[in-house]
């Protein structure tokens, strides 16, 4: 018996790394200056078994962010020129996508005007620089202001229209911008693009290694800033208000949350940020062209956030990395690389509920489901306590009682044979073999609920029916079946067969 006993793991194993601080000093965490926030989410508790203090990092995402972005920052200077450009483009697009995630995920506005706002910011900054001689540091402010202005204009209908209608409107806005820029007489000779834009990259460094590194540094800084904006907007007051509104708009309104205004603020903040990115875009390439308003570029950006996972900053960055690496890093592949992106998009959407970043959670849910299915399959235990259930019993005696009952039943099942039943049929009462005695003793000890009994019918002396007790005082027994037995021995045997049947089925 003990040899083939298999022990199953129950409960959750502590997966995470634990730290044991010396002594019993309480946890002291530094706050970020000027705020009440902590940098890392440390949690400490006394282990209930060992009574030792242990400390763990409850939210490890800052760690992953630091590792990922740090690796990018350290590795880029050693890469080739084209790879540095790709890294810079990645940072720029990731910054755009992080802010876009803020609009789609946090604010819940399905806006496709992201690139249009970037383009307008870029054009505004470039025009001011080329024609009015605005120095480059002020271009960021110009782009931001332009973005804010356009954002304010676009935010007005966002509360009135919803979902796809707003998406269409913003798509139309991008198209209008493209046509407007292409039609401008002043930009006619260059086909709508503005060249020779002033930049933070010195002219003679442009497309040289130091210039590329400088561009990458700027783009990296931009990405950090947009992540900071994401953190501040998404997980502070505005984000909390909007989360309530996402779950139940009517409730949010009833408790006095003006979610429309909150959405508007998020949209405005993002638009300002996108305008700044637009100014950076113009400086990075030292030119800007109407292709930024094109639908293809927008779809590529949409593919990025979809592959990564809508609504999460990690998703925006990971999706951007995947798509930029394929689109810009595999240029020698030619048009099939778009096919590859489409295939990834298809596979990710068909199999993952929320992009690449949602896979982990989805896998855990899947594993838990499979585990509980396996658990259910092991449950032909005949009333024995499952290991998982055992922790829920306060009276541990119950566990041993049930285990004993189970083993007893298993043993008795082996005793029941045709000969045994035949023996009982011949003489229900009287001297029996050892096996039959054991079986009958088990039946006699059974609990009162659902115990069978024989009831004599009032209309005749030898007329019996089989009933089962309710087990509750005052509740009448129930009739098991309508059959009338003319012989008491026959009735005894019928009860025996019913009990044998119950035993074999348990």
């Amino acid at each position: 018996m003990a040899r083939d006993k298999k022990f199953y793991l129950i409960g959750q194993r502590p997966r995470e790394l634990l730290f044991y601080p010396p002594g019993s000093a309480p946890l002291r965490r530094r706050r970020l200056p000027g705020t009440r926030r902590h940098l890392l989410k440390w949690r400490s508790r006394a282990n209930p078994k060992s009574l030792r203090q242990e400390r763990r990092l409850a939210d490890k995402r800052p760690l992953w962010w630091t590792i990922g972005l740090g690796a990018l920052l350290v590795a880029t200077p050693f890469l080739s020129n084209s790879m540095i450009t790709i890294a810079a483009i990645f940072c720029m697009f990731a910054a755009i996508n992080v802010l876009w995630t803020l609009v789609i995920g946090t604010a819940g506005i399905f806006s496709l005007a992201t690139l249009a706002i970037v383009g307008i910011g870029g054009y505004a900054a470039a025009v001011l620089n080329v024609w009015l001689g605005l120095p480059w540091p002020l271009m960021f402010a110009a782009g931001g202001l332009a973005g804010l202005f356009v954002g304010g204009f676009l935010a007005l209908p966002s509360t009135r229209l919803d979902g796809l209608y707003y998406a269409l409107l913003t798509m139309g806005f991008a198209e209008i911008c493209r046509v407007f820029v292409v039609q401008l007489k002043a930009l006619g000779p260059t086909n709508g693009s503005i060249n020779n834009v002033g930049s933070f990259i010195p002219k003679d460094w442009f497309l040289q290694r130091p210039g590329l590194l400088l561009g990458f540094g700027g783009a990296f800084l931009l990405l950090l800033l947009s992540l900071l904006i994401f953190r501040i907007v998404n997980s502070e007051r505005l984000g909390m208000l909007l989360q309530t509104a996402r779950e139940e708009e009517a409730y949010a309104e009833a408790v006095g949350i003006d979610y429309r205004r909150a959405r508007m603020y998020v949209f405005l903040i993002t638009s300002g940020g996108l305008g700044v990115i637009g100014a950076f875009y113009a400086m990075f390439y030292m030119s800007i062209s109407p292709s930024i308003f094109s639908l293809d570029q927008l779809l590529l950006l949409f593919a990025m956030i979809v592959i990564g996972g809508l609504g999460r900053s990690e998703g925006a960055v990971i999706g951007t990395a995947v798509v930029v690496l394929i689109d810009k890093g595999m240029l020698e592949l030619g048009p099939p690389r778009i096919l590859l992106i489409a295939a990834i998009m298809l596979v990710v959407t068909l199999f993952a509920n929320n992009g690449l970043v949602g896979i982990r959670e989805q896998f855990r849910n899947y594993r838990n489901r499979k585990r509980s299915e396996a658990r259910a399959r092991r449950t032909e235990k005949g009333g024995e306590v499952m290991p998982e259930e055992a922790i829920e019993f306060t009276d541990k005696q119950e566990i041993y009682y049930r285990r004993f009952q189970k083993r007893l039943r298993d043993h008795l099942k082996t005793l029941i044979t045709d000969e045994l039943i035949e023996e009982h049929r011949k003489s229900p009462l009287g001297k029996h073999s050892d096996a039959l005695n054991r079986v009958l003793n088990y039946f006699r000890r059974g609990e009162m609920a659902d115990k069978y009994a024989i009831m004599r019918q009032p209309d005749g002396f030898h007329r019996y029916k089989i009933i089962a007790f309710s087990g509750e005082r005052g509740a009448p027994p129930r009739l098991v079946d309508d059959r009338i037995y003319e012989d008491i021995n026959e009735a005894y045997h019928a009860v025996f067969l019913l009990r044998v049947n119950d035993l074999l089925e348990s």
Binding site: P157, R160, L161, D162, L164, Y165, L168, L169, M171, G172, F173, E175, I176, V179, F180, Q183, L295, L299, F302, A303, V306, L310, P335, P336, I338, L339, I341, A342, A343, M345, L346, T349, L350, N353, N354
Partner: protein, 309 residues
């Protein structure tokens, strides 16, 4: 400006865009899916018709020579191949974008993304196989014009308007009288109620996707009488169809028809005005649609998508 000619041109455009928009609208209201691959269906059907017609050309010439029968056979082959390819591609969209995910969370967004990916992939595959060169389809209705009340009408314009009116009439009639049409209309009115009455979502969605695909194929054949078949030919009809479907209110067939007529006339008028011209067509359309949507946020006739939620 030639007013009557503009009206005919507008009707012609309205007919073709209407075919796309009604397909998108029916699909949304009955299945709950925005089909971004409608443009891909358009392009695929155009190419299928082109391949079939160029393959059948020598056969038909051998069989009928240069008679009216030859023209009819050519038209039959072209239209048949186009609509068949559209229906088959609709079934492929059903298999990829509907069947695996229709009972999963965020179906609306995910199916939109999947169809977008299908669109992207199809256009690239077409570019790969056929190259960016444009192909001309055989003229179904022949060259030439005739005059009604002094207005010259090209054969292809008249053919497109008439055949669209007939086909749309047939489709709407089928939706009204047939058993399957009843099921589809039940799904459009109340998906949950339809399911509770024993209508299978899967077996209703398949004919809907195939039907809308066939409509897109027909639109491709008709539009290819005036423009050429190319891999990216589907993008503009898709955008037009989508905007018209939204303008009419997603899910409303009369709204889509009204939207198609309005947009068709708008396009014809803006294109004909001397100081605006073809380049401002999209610009004007979007401005118009934005204005309408701001005044009536659910489009011209759209009330259905409130019940869809």
């Amino acid at each position: 400006m030639d007013v009557l000619g503009t009206i005919i041109h507008g009707l012609n455009l309205a007919a073709i865009y209407g075919l796309m928009a009604i397909g998108i609208s029916i699909l949304w209201s009955s299945v709950g899916m925005i089909n971004m691959a409608h443009g891909a269906t358009f392009a695929i059907s155009g190419y299928a018709a082109w391949i079939a017609s160029s393959a059948a050309k020598p056969l038909i010439a051998a069989a009928f020579g240069k008679t009216v029968m030859a023209k009819l056979a050519m038209a039959g082959v072209t239209v048949g191949a186009g609509t068949l390819a559209g229906a088959v591609f609709g079934a492929i969209i059903y298999l990829l974008a509907f069947l695996p995910i229709h009972d999963k969370p965020n179906f609306a967004v995910r199916s939109l993304i999947v169809t977008l990916a299908i669109n992207l992939a199809t256009v690239q595959i077409l570019l790969w196989f056929f190259g960016p060169r444009q192909r001309g389809l055989p003229k179904l209705f022949g060259f030439g014009k005739f005059e009604i009340l002094g207005v010259p009408i090209r054969y292809d314009q008249a053919g497109a308007i008439l055949s669209t009116a007939i086909i749309l009439g047939l489709v709407l009639f089928w939706l009204r009288v047939s058993r399957k049409g009843l099921e589809i209309r039940a799904m459009m009115q109340n998906p949950e109620g339809a399911v509770l009455s024993g209508i299978s979502v899967r077996w209703t969605a398949l004919p809907v996707t195939m039907l809308t695909g066939a409509l897109a194929g027909l639109a491709a054949i008709l539009l290819s009488q005036t423009i050429f078949v190319s891999p990216t030919a589907g993008a503009l009809p898709l955008i037009k169809g989508l905007t018209i479907a939204l303008l009419g209110g997603l899910g409303s067939v009369p709204g889509a028809v009204a939207g198609a007529v309005v947009i068709g006339f708008l396009e014809a008028t803006v294109g004909a005005l001397p100081f605006l011209g073809q380049r401002y067509v999209l610009f004007a359309q979007f401005l118009f649609i934005i204005t309408v949507l701001i005044i009536r946020p659910r489009g011209l006739g759209g009330l259905l998508d409130e019940t869809r939620e």
